[in-house]
Subunit: 114 residues, 4 copies
């Protein structure tokens, strides 16, 4: 992380910084798993809007919308008390088995259609 830019955040991990933001504003009451799942879907819709009529979109706009998705996704991971990196790795291990290299190479077919 770059240091010195976020007075409140300095020396905090991302999850600590997110937690501080939420706790200071007493927002935990709104962050049920169901509400965070809705929030992720809402922000995913805004991200998709970058590409509504075109394959291309200004990079800064995409980055900002992606950040919103990631923020709510990390808040949900924290709420469920799971490590966001670890669950990605766990799922990756499942995907590796579902899509063996020799059969999946160069194909976008679902594993049950490969």
């Amino acid at each position: 992380m770059r240091r010195g830019r976020y007075p409140v955040v300095d020396d905090l991990t991302v999850d600590e910084a997110l937690r501080a933001l939420v706790v200071e504003r007493d927002w935990e009451q709104f962050h049920s798993p169901a509400n965070l799942a809705k929030s992720i879907a809402i922000e995913a819709g805004e991200l998709l809007q970058c590409f509504q009529w075109s394959e291309e979109s200004p990079r800064d706009r995409v980055v900002e919308e992606l950040a919103d998705v990631l923020t709510y996704a990390r808040l949900l991971a924290a709420r469920l008390e799971v490590d966001p990196d670890q669950i990605v790795l766990d799922k990756l291990a499942v995907t590796e088995k579902k899509y063996p290299v020799d059969r999946a190479r160069g194909s976008s077919a679902r594993y049950d259609e490969v």
Copy 2:
């Protein structure tokens, strides 16, 4: 990260492991920013399905769907060559200013309605 569980992944970071998965299967051709944005929205819909008729959902199911959202979100970050943690922190700094503690405390109103 727990070690020893992912033969392919061992000693790799999450992003390196995801990249290996994609490259080995020649899937980069499908991973345009627009397609990854669609994928995030699709997986966000599956996550939301956990809460379609109820505020509660089995934790394992939620974790698995969240992992899919995070996977595509990290792939998009990698495609855009941004650090997923850094863009969350950048957005957090914006949110802190939009929602000053004294005005936002305990309220779910949008910043333009606070």
Copy 3:
């Protein structure tokens, strides 16, 4: 409507047929506006999945997913006691003003960017 194919539905309008389906199964209890909004987003995600990796998709699959979106959208309109055709026309009148023909022609820009 083609007649004779739907014994239960025959001579019913679409909304009457949907209502019969729901009432017979005692599903009204699940159909709060919030739950129907979630359902529309979930089905919209499944529709989007038809186009996840390609601009093309088998027509039958798209039609089926679109039918699910329309079903929940009509159920929400009924719940809100609005005519689904009328609200489309009302919104169309707004869109016509926001996007005057001479400025909007051939452009996908949002009205505040036109």
Copy 4:
């Protein structure tokens, strides 16, 4: 339909009115099935936003977002040359079989879990 409110629309069906709006602005070029599917998902996200933090939402706001979903859904039906009412009835017939009254009554379980 109420008459006299929509100079352009008067005496037109909803689909004819939507088609006039699109053709006059030369927007058909943007309305591929894939782009309309994205648009439905984006508007479904905005509809969901009405319920992001609460089960309740001002009725007018919900109606407006629902109208946007229905508009793009009807445009996609027109693009696929299917009758939006007929495909809802076709799907309803499938749902009736998947969820027999005696087993589905009062349950929100999916058909494969009933």
